[in-house]
């Protein structure tokens, strides 16, 4: 019934991406990885957390980032402003804050006791008179460019970034105005170090072609249906560097006993708030107003995925450690539970998400090992893997210096 071209609709929508197989080399070449580090990660806005993690003046967290070969100190000042610094004492380079976070009035180096305030100013140097031609003001903490979008804290290692965070987020900047990010709280915090290239890792969360197979025991039932047996994407939106897609929901989904229980007491990741009225969903989600909508995938270049459902959202951040090794961090955000019943219901979403993620992760190290073996050089992509194709091209254009912003 449907024409061939209609069935392969994304390649028609984005013909500039082509249809050729994509190369394996970017996932196995240490040299390519070093160029990604220098040309992408060290020059791009990167999400490192949310403002609620440091809600009071003096609250801070430390983020050790192997990708950037640095440790960052992120702190809320007395003026309420969130700032990031290299977590390095300016005396002889010791790591300043050693715990992973907390609340403080300032930072005292464990080596010689140099003391900094919350704005990074050096305020105390023991036995200061013994230094030569010394001005404390010249030895404040080294700041890192920091901006906030919808409560997400972004940093950029370039001292004076070429584009603001607003320019960087671009078309997506205003899309989520009104989505209740600030009201939701993480009920889950998972992480894993996986022996796989960061791009391969992210790719699995940018297509649903794998759902009927890898998730056959868990969420395939909800992600596929009679009218959509392969879980084709409802819509795709490819931007200059970022990308989004809407994921299908099976209207004939049969909840299990545990899911029905959970759903009675609050939203679940599968059924959202349970409304089938998609004319007025939460702001920013389901842009096509599909009645068979599960959730939206939003990939913020280069390494941040923001998946939004109706009443919950989850974030994933991918930090490459080496060409074939990646730290993955995931958080699921839901309403702070008002009573024990809501908390018990949320445990359903949490456990199902964890078990489904462990299915996603199960294949990654096999893929990397086979890529490393050199037995194949290219991988064909289906039209349903258009976001994977876009992800590859955006990275490759930057690594091969085809995009203007890195032409100096």
């Amino acid at each position: 019934m449907k024409s061939f071209s209609l069935q392969q609709r994304w390649a028609n929508k984005y013909p500039e991406l082509g249809t050729e197989p994509i190369p394996v080399e970017p996932n196995i070449s240490p040299e390519y990885f070093e160029r990604e580090r220098e040309r992408i990660f060290k020059r791009t806005w990167l999400n490192i957390g949310r403002v609620e993690e440091i809600s009071e003046a003096g609250d801070y967290f430390v983020k050790d980032l192997a990708t950037l070969k640095t440790s960052l100190l992120v702190v809320r000042g007395r003026d309420g402003i969130v700032r990031a610094f290299h977590n390095v004492c300016r005396h002889r380079g010791n790591k300043l804050a050693r715990s992973c976070g907390g609340g403080t009035r300032g930072f005292i180096c464990g080596f010689h006791g140099w003391t900094y305030d919350l704005a990074g100013n050096l305020v105390r140097v023991p036995d200061e008179e013994q230094f030569f031609n010394f001005e404390k003001s010249a030895y404040g903490l080294t700041p890192v460019a920091t901006e906030v979008w919808e409560g997400f804290i972004f940093i950029n290692l370039v001292a004076d970034p070429a584009e603001t965070l607003r320019e960087f987020i671009g078309e997506l900047f205003d899309q989520f105005l009104g989505y209740p990010f600030s009201k939701l709280r993480p009920i889950v915090n998972y992480s894993a170090v996986v022996g796989v290239n960061w791009k391969i890792f992210m790719e699995i969360f940018q297509e649903c072609y794998h759902v009927p197979n890898i998730h056959r025991s868990s969420v395939a039932e909800i992600g596929t249906g009679k009218d959509n047996p392969f879980g084709h994407l409802l819509s795709t939106r490819l931007f200059r560097r970022h990308r989004s897609a809407s994921v299908y929901y099976n209207p004939e989904h049969q909840p299990t006993a545990a899911e029905s229980l959970a759903f009675r007491y609050g939203p679940t990741i599968l059924q959202g708030t349970g409304t089938d009225d998609f004319t007025e969903p939460l702001p920013g989600i389901n842009p096509d107003r599909s009645s068979k909508w599960g959730f939206d995938i939003n990939v913020i270049f280069p390494n941040f995925i923001l998946d939004l459902a109706n009443g919950s959202y989850w974030t994933q951040t991918f930090w490459p450690i080496a060409v074939d090794r990646t730290l993955w961090e995931v958080k699921l955000y839901m309403d702070p539970p008002k009573n024990p019943g809501e908390r018990i219901g949320q445990e359903f979403s949490k456990v199902l998400m964890r078990d489904a993620f462990r299915e996603d992760l199960s294949q990654l190290e096999n893929i990397q090992a086979n890529m490393n073996s050199g037995t194949f050089t290219h991988t064909p992509l289906s039209d349903q893997e258009i976001l994977v194709r876009h992800a590859y091209k955006v990275v490759d254009d930057l690594v091969e210096a085809r995009l203007s912003e890195i032409e100096e």
Partner: protein, 111 residues
Amino acid sequence: MASPLPQQFQELAAFIDKWSLATERERNACRRASTMEEIQQFYDAMLPRMNGLIEYLNQYPLDALPEDAERLFYLALSFMEVSPAVELFREPDESGAFDAARFVIVEPAIV
């Protein structure tokens, strides 16, 4: 000694030692270390009581559960923990899934 569970839920007391666990890490480890028979027995005992149990717990604020109610609350969280084993996988932990020991549950995320 005070009874371990609220009076109307006494028949679940036999499950306290094994399943009334405060953290997700403990609950998941317990599920993975259990036989399918143990999991099924716990699930079957809990399922018909879950609605009443939640109604009972909801008379208390989440952060002020009396001790006996808190034990019941943790049993309910364990019910959710084992539910995929019974309802989806039909084994305690899915064969072939990513190594649970390498999948880090960072706690507390928040209660």
